[in-house]
């Protein structure tokens, strides 16, 4: 233990200017993320990358105090073991990376009038993702002879990663993003990275076989790229349902086919869904059992059915499959995935293009499973327009800026609302005009977990536009109540025409 502390003290003496700089950046970034009214928007948006670079620089500097690559490792002749050395480095990272991040996040919560004890899961997850960064940086440094080599190996790994992504995306399309449960996807990848990094550190500190470590890195980069397309959304949603916040009875939200409505009145199969439209089935459904005032958010839908020749077809858990609330007429409509109460909606299911049906009609029996998130009643908070921050539900703060323009920036500690829009109430539009701020769509910003989708405690969201005059601006939020699934048997005598 004494040797560990001696090495630790030596590292602190050598590296204190870097420690001070990196610590200042960490504190500034985490405090700025919680304080949108500071007006240092740049510090809030782009500093994540700079913080990561600064932390990696400090991590590499500490590891390279006793380099593990080369034939002049002076520390091998000293009276301490590799375990002592590794323990000293880990202590260094604990004190100068983890603790400042924890202290800054905790202070930011206290400054906002929130209890850190109430956000322990979020603080813990932020530390988990910080540990991923620490271990990866340390592993990379352990296989480098110098800071220059560290940079080049890191860049080469990055280039390899992007190249592999590029090649695979030609074959498999865009990477898979898990919407509100993306934090579980990120956590799985972080755990994988940490395992790989721990293996590299073990190899380097025990045997110093840099070539083997570099091979592990190359394999890890490849595996990590493949994980961008990893399946498992449904398992993640099931886990999220168990985690809560709450469970709901089976009587809450019931879905059944609405045979009264003609298929021709359904939404057009429009291209504005982020992807090219494919063959699809659109089913009129009726939903009952949504508690008064609450809403239900459609996350994803999966379906199975039979083909005209007796085979089976499946629509996987994909964000393009969903329940939609169609607003407006058929020619100029808009779809929303938040169902504001009991009523008539449409169930959209994309059918695999490999399914060739010359009749353009699928047999009438389909089984669909719908993943839903129950949202609370709307909470409406008028936003101060004079540059003062406004407290909003769930520990959030919003800040309105701009004179002719309208800029609204909000930040929440996780867990954040499941839905948030900025509503502009002006003389010409008494019903209000909504601008989405937080959304749980595939590429949206809502995380259902105890941390943001990027792994931090804080989630920032901003919108900009032209301000109609005169106008009142309010923030409309809904809390996440529960996640659950509902099955529905769909039948139509004449079959389902493909749209």
């Amino acid at each position: 233990m004494n040797s560990t502390l001696r090495i630790f003290r030596k590292d602190v003496r050598h590296l204190w200017p870097r420690i001070v700089l990196v610590g200042a950046i960490e504190v500034a970034v985490h405090l700025a993320a919680s304080a949108p009214w500071l007006g240092i928007a740049g510090l809030q948006t782009g500093m994540g990358g700079i913080e990561a670079l600064a932390q990696w620089f400090l991590i590499a500097s500490a590891i390279l105090e006793e380099p593990l690559v080369g034939d002049r490792q002076h520390w091998l002749t000293r009276p301490y073991s590799w375990k002592t050395l590794l323990a000293a480095k880990m202590l260094f990272f604990l004190v100068f990376i983890h603790l400042p991040v924890l202290a800054a996040d905790g202070s930011a919560l206290i400054l906002r009038g929130l209890s850190p004890m109430g956000h322990l899961p979020g603080l813990a997850m932020a530390q988990f993702f910080t540990l991923e960064r620490v271990l990866c940086g340390a592993a990379l440094a352990s296989m480098s002879a110098s800071l220059v080599q560290f940079v080049w190996i890191g860049l080469a790994a990055f280039v390899g990663y992007v190249l592999t992504l590029e090649i695979l995306s030609f074959r498999w399309g865009g990477i898979v993003v898990w919407g509100g449960v993306e934090w579980l996807h990120g956590a799985a990848m972080a755990a994988f990275w940490m395992l790989g990094a721990a293996a590299i550190l073990a190899v380097q500190y025990v045997t110093r076989r840099a070539e083997l470590s570099r091979q592990i890195l190359a394999a890890g980069v490849l595996a990590m790229t493949l994980m961008m397309w990893m399946p498992g959304w449904h398992a993640a949603f099931a886990l999220q349902s168990r985690l809560g916040p709450r469970r709901v009875a089976d009587s809450v939200v019931r879905i059944e086919v609405d045979p009264e409505r003609a298929l021709e009145t359904g939404p057009l199969n429009m291209s504005y869904r982020g992807r090219e439209p494919q063959d699809a089935v659109e089913v009129p459904v009726r939903i009952a059992g949504i508690p008064p005032g609450m809403g239900a958010q459609s996350d994803r839908v999966a379906a199975t059915g039979v083909t005209p020749d007796g085979g089976a077809w499946t629509a996987a858990w994909d964000s393009i499959n969903r329940l939609t609330h169609v607003i407006g007429d058929r020619s100029g409509n808009r779809e929303e995935r938040v169902l504001p109460g009991d009523g008539a909606y449409w169930l959209y299911v994309n059918v695999d293009q490999s399914l060739q049906s010359p009749e353009r009609t699928l047999p009438g029996r389909i089984r669909a499973n719908v993943a839903l998130t129950l949202l609370s009643a709307e909470e409406i908070t008028p936003l101060h327009a004079g540059g003062r921050p406004t407290r909003v539900p769930q520990g959030g703060l919003c800040w309105v800026s701009g004179k002719q323009s309208l800029n609204v920036t909000c930040s929440w500690p996780a867990p954040m609302p499941g839905y948030a829009v900025v509503r502009i109430l002006s003389n010409g539009t008494p019903a209000g005009f909504d601008i989405p701020l937080l959304s749980a769509l595939e590429y949206g910003s809502v995380s259902y977990g105890p941390c943001s989708n990027a792994g931090g405690l804080w989630q920032r969201a901003a919108i900009g536009g032209t301000r109609p005059e005169p106008s009142e601006i309010v923030l409309v939020t809904r809390r996440v109540v529960a996640h659950f699934e509902r099955g529905v048997d769909i039948y139509r005598a004449g079959g389902w025409p493909l749209q």
């Binding site: 200017p17 870097r18 700089l21 950046i25 500034a28 007006g39 240092i40 740049g42 510090l43 809030q44 948006t45 782009g46 500093m47 990358g49 700079i50 670079l53 600064a54 620089f57 500097s61 110098s146 800071l147 220059v148 940079v151 080049w152 860049l155 080469a156 990055f158 280039v159 992007v162 190249l163 992504l165 590029e166 995306s169 865009g174 990477i175 993003v177 961008m228 429009m270 291209s271 504005y272 992807r275 607003i327 407006g328 100029g332 409509n333 808009r334 701009g402 002719q404 323009s405 309208l406 010409g428 539009t429 008494p430 019903a431 005009f433 595939e442 590429y443 900009g464 032209t466 005059e469």
Partner: protein, 484 residues
């Protein structure tokens, strides 16, 4: 020369792995044409990575190259070698040209050819991009390498600079509109002179403290130039490149016949200044048939019995609605001045910076797809759903509308685009006589337009002359011109 080549070969032997990583990044950047952008999240993320990777690879290569023969400290072995600082500097410059500039140029050249454009037609634009790339990417890294002892110092300095830059980026640049290229050139000039002076000082005298001060001063001055407010003198520079021509230039006058009339509709933009809004009717004469006017900065003054008010040079969509010689000028007057002088006769005068455009190309899109338009680049005609706001029965809602779209990609935005149905002004049209971008990608989005589905033809316009006509009106009463 032999010594220079020897040092160059030694650097190449030692730094080839780094150069290889940089060239791989360049190749990756070349494949990521903005035309291939799609809705997948990966593309956006990959572009962000490239924006980080490409500069990092370039900077580290340049810094490690300079650190091969360190300039700081008392153990500079190279001082005892039989070559001069000139040989050393020449060898470093040769390395940078061969391993940094040349790969980038070749990647950009290949990317332009792969897009179906003739790289030879765009050769001068590609070379200009190399000039600005060298000034904004290579020179600062070389200067940083010359005033630091090791990579640790470079990273520390870089983190401080990036943090300051990021904090500044939260603020908005004052918009110079079409004159942006002049400000870019000013920043480039400061950067080139300052960094070159610091590097020469280090190689000749190795006076590190002074050189560090020069690098810091250069960065501050370049940032100050990049954030400079609108400067009226920019027009004189613009005029040097686009002088007047035979046939005369447009001139402006107050249109008394429309006094008290207001434009039918004209919305407010987020860039509009504060104040009481007046709409002044103007008459524009001496514009050749078929030509278009691009309006940029405006400066207005009002002298009244109870004081005087000056707007200073402002850049917003002040000049608008030009049709058959009639136009409108939006003026936002200080509310206090307006209150004191609204009902008394005042003298209003001002200037507008114009660019005159001639029609260079006309094209009719008979079918959708990619079309090479000489001078404009690769244009893609297509149809796209666009979310629009619809107002009906007191309610505003979002609807999706189908529109024809035109997107042009090129190494330099030389031409402006307009349809036959547009009014006679061009907004946000290009002014620059050469490209000032320093980006890694070869092709930029030169313009994106949504046009009516049944618009028959589109035209491209080339800037030919700049003008700054003045106008004056006496005896106005501001209340008559105030927008309700």
């Amino acid at each position: 020369m032999m010594r220079t080549l020897r040092i160059f070969r030694k650097d190449a032997r030692r730094l080839w792995p780094g150069a290889l990583v940089y060239i791989a990044v360049m190749a990756l950047a070349a494949t990521r044409s903005p035309m291939n952008r799609n809705f997948s999240n990966y593309s956006v993320w990959g572009e962000i990575l490239l924006q980080l990777l490409a500069p990092l690879a370039c900077w580290f290569l340049a810094v490690t190259l300079i650190h091969e023969e360190r300039l700081i400290g008392d153990e500079q072995y190279w001082l005892t070698r039989p070559y001069s600082w000139k040989d050393l500097v020449a060898a470093k410059a040769l390395f940078l040209v061969v391993f940094v500039n040349a790969p980038l140029f070749l990647c950009q050249f290949a990317a332009v050819a792969a897009a179906g454009l003739s790289p030879w037609e765009w050769l001068s634009a590609l070379l200009w991009r190399q000039v600005f790339f060298s000034i904004f990417f290579i020179m600062p890294a070389v200067a940083l390498g010359a005033v630091t002892r090791n990579l640790g110092q470079v990273v520390l300095t870089g983190v401080v600079i990036l943090t300051a830059g990021q904090a500044l980026s939260g603020n908005q640049f004052p918009d110079w509109g079409g004159f942006d290229w002049i400000r870019d050139c000013g920043a480039a000039l400061v950067m080139a002179v300052g960094t070159a002076a610091a590097v020469v000082l280090q190689y000749t005298r190795r006076r590190t403290a002074l050189a560090r001060g020069m690098v810091a001063g250069t960065l501050v001055l370049a940032a100050a130039t990049a954030y400079a407010p609108v400067w009226g003198g920019a027009f004189a520079i613009q005029k040097l490149f686009f002088p007047g021509r035979l046939g005369g230039l447009p001139h402006l006058s107050f249109d008394e016949s429309r006094a008290g009339v207001h434009p039918m509709s004209y919305g407010r933009f987020s860039s509009d200044p504060d104040g009481v809004r007046l709409e002044i009717p103007l008459r524009v004469d001496n514009v050749l048939p078929g030509a278009r006017l691009g309006a940029d900065w405006t400066s207005v003054g009002i002298d009244g019995p109870n004081g005087a008010w000056r707007s200073g040079w402002l850049n917003f969509h002040a000049f608008h609605g030009l049709s058959h010689g009639e136009a409108w000028l939006t003026v936002y007057v200080d509310p206090g001045f307006y209150e004191k002088n609204q009902d008394t006769p005042v003298r209003l005068y001002g200037k507008v910076d114009f660019m005159l455009y001639e029609r260079a190309r006309t094209m009719t899109a008979t079918e959708y797809g990619k079309v090479v338009v000489p001078g404009a680049g690769l244009c893609m005609f297509g149809r796209r759903y666009r979310v629009s706001q619809a107002h009906s029965a007191g309610e505003t809602r979002q609807v999706e509308v189908l529109q024809n779209t035109v997107e042009c990609y090129s190494p330099w935005r030389e031409l402006a685009f307009a349809t036959d149905r547009d009014d006679e002004t061009l907004h946000d049209a290009p002014y620059a006589p050469f490209p000032t971008t320093s980006a890694f990608q070869a092709l930029d989005l030169a313009g994106s337009w949504a046009v009516d589905a049944d618009t028959p033809s589109q035209a491209f316009y080339r800037p030919v002359a700049s003008a700054q006509p003045v106008f004056e009106a006496r005896g106005l009463r501001m209340r008559e011109f105030r927008m309700p």
